[in-house]
Symmetry: C2
Amino acid sequence: MQTDTSFEAFFSPKSVAIIGASEKLRFGYFVTKSILARTDMKVYPVHIHADQIMGVKAYKSINDVPDSVDLAIFLVPSEAAPNAMRECAEKGVKHVIVLSAGFAEVDQVGAQRQQEIVEIANKNGIRVIGPNCVGVTNLSNRFTTAEIDINSLKEGNVAFIAQSGIFGTVIIDWAAANEFGLSKVITLGNKCDVDEIDLLNYLEKDEETKVICLYLEGIKEGRGRKFIETFERVTKKKPVLVLKSGRTETGARAVKSHTGSLAGDDRIFDAVLKQTGAIRVDSVEELLDFAKVLATQPLPEVEGVAIITNSGSLAAMTCDELEKQGMKLAQFESETMEKMKKVAPYWTSIKNPVDIGPAMLQIGSQVLEAVLKDKNVGCLFIISSPPGMVVKPHGMGLDLVPFYKVYKRVIDKHREKTIIISSFGDHDIIKAAREVFEKSGIPLINSVQNAARAITTLYRYKRYLEKNNKNQES
Amino acid sequence: MQTDTSFEAFFSPKSVAIIGASEKLRFGYFVTKSILARTDMKVYPVHIHADQIMGVKAYKSINDVPDSVDLAIFLVPSEAAPNAMRECAEKGVKHVIVLSAGFAEVDQVGAQRQQEIVEIANKNGIRVIGPNCVGVTNLSNRFTTAEIDINSLKEGNVAFIAQSGIFGTVIIDWAAANEFGLSKVITLGNKCDVDEIDLLNYLEKDEETKVICLYLEGIKEGRGRKFIETFERVTKKKPVLVLKSGRTETGARAVKSHTGSLAGDDRIFDAVLKQTGAIRVDSVEELLDFAKVLATQPLPEVEGVAIITNSGSLAAMTCDELEKQGMKLAQFESETMEKMKKVAPYWTSIKNPVDIGPAMLQIGSQVLEAVLKDKNVGCLFIISSPPGMVVKPHGMGLDLVPFYKVYKRVIDKHREKTIIISSFGDHDIIKAAREVFEKSGIPLINSVQNAARAITTLYRYKRYLEKNNKNQES
């Protein structure tokens, strides 16, 4: 077993061999193409029958490469994988990503091949990611073994570990489409060697990663104790969000035929996970929403939540979800109420939730300022969903951006508080919120229920850290 | 109390008076403008100080209008409302929509004014929608009293009843942006007279409405028994989806200051609602997703759900949610398995969920055909989330539309089954699914959990109808 830092070679190799490099438009073509184009690392295509791949000199075997190799990427069919692994061992390669499928997830023959490559790897101190995966994506140097458009991705501080290649790719596509900032994405596939525990060890120390997201179908046999130890340690430094399927019998059968994983008893998994301080989520949407808030916002210092809204209905639904989750609304200081009374029209409701309806655009910033200064407020949730006619050219034709920029100036003075915005309805209305808030790291969450659950998650995580720090001090 | 058919005047009046018509860009301006522009109804602006409004002759009082008036729309301030109502009574108007605010939702004075207009209305057989609302929107004749762009809306068969004006408007904006088909939208505001029960009576017989959605903050005192009777009757003809806030203490306080409603004990409300056969939902997202599926899909004849997917992970999550909801996956007939075996590559998994990964584009239509012909399948859920590189110009550059059109031809032969599609990830990927499927009435639901819950909802509603029909027959 290598030290964690050795994992750097998976993400920032200085020299890479692509074994089974392909210049035909089939599996591996885009990986070959994107890595061959890199100028910041040496890339050696290896192909048994080719002298050149995409104009670059190719080698019959990795052993012909006139240089040391940090990372070998396998694109060869599963039957050729054991031999390729043997050659990697001879060459002294220590990091291999097997992108090819056709192993344990398919049949007994595939399982034997997988067993074979693992044995060679273990004997020679080679760490292996895969097989049946899309490997790694590193935003800081834009290195990827996945078939994605890395340039469309935004660099951020959320790391994502997925088991399945397609799901990992789809999450990356989603992130690109929604300007969601990622640090690293790793798909584990069949987890013949490297698993989520190894990656948690690595990401724990990764300075580019602030939040760790994990989609899991099962834990490898015999790794239970290590899982608990690692998760317990890492969650005290960085929040770890876990989405696990195979919770039910039907789901467990589905994951078994998907990645061959044993989902295990969900009640036990759930109890174990709670004990480790990891945060379990119920859907992809929750995972992404919670990660966005954790990645951009400080944890709330006090429990009280304030809501400023233009829609009483959406605020009422938020209140319901907050109470369901066990959270409390902030009791405003009298000074806060006084300040709001001075600017709010008589027909608004300035108790918490502060429902100022159509007056939101006019007095929003003053109300924001008053509420953010209130020491009983740990988190502010802003619901700004004005009618589309406010911005339409044939309506009032207002540009929301300047209004929102005034809000933002107020918010910027109080970045020590947790702040989330929600906007719903017309596309242009949502677009303005995205442009001003989301782009400045104030997360936009469409669903008010998810926002309420995200707030709860942050508050509970804060409490978890406090409790743990106290234990450490005493 | 009038008969239900009299409600037609709210939605399709032949003559309308706008009391307090405004040609200034303030509250009421857009309503005045859009209704004055209509050529299919006579419109009479009424304003105490104006001879003309937007070039149309104005009247000092509704009593000066030289014609009968089906519907009067109040834009006057609350203090002028009682007098306007008195004049409507003299004129013999039977339908009034009070858009103005400043009544019971604000203070005691407002509450008294509201009481005053109700008394005049009751004495004179006038039905009143509002106050503090945005009134009605009717897609069939594109008549609206709301400040929305009616032309951007798609006509469909979902009716929406909301309590609050802003929320109703935002839902309409959302529907316009997402091409969600609506039949009628009604906001009730303070419900001084017309309430959800009256509207359910009306919508029960409305041929344009197939699904009724209701956002509710409370039920008027003394209307409990009538609520149960009406809901029990209507749910046997059309599905009624209910989103109610004020479920918790905090939520109840929020609705009280929002529309002055008494939320009541949620456990009682929940039990009552269940008894009536109405379907309770937990979020706006669920409401809209369920409505879309109910509006476009037949109810499943048998329980078995089939899943065809390119992502094993998303399928596993769907399985978990289905089992959590108490639903069962279909056990395929052996013939179905044989048909799939003939076309599916060896590495795919053709048990249910049918996980055909990247082979989906090639063999999707054959697998679809086999599964849809299986008599154990009541509902088919298709998860098609291929990686973005499949469609990107610098990737494989495929156009998904022709592939999806082949799927659609197969689906069109089996419209007797419930069919839902989910697509996640890249914008262009989702766009293709929207273009082919959603536009032909095959609903696209992004969240697999919501899709699983929608399927459950349809199956349970089917069972509810069957049970009820049996009771009626016996």
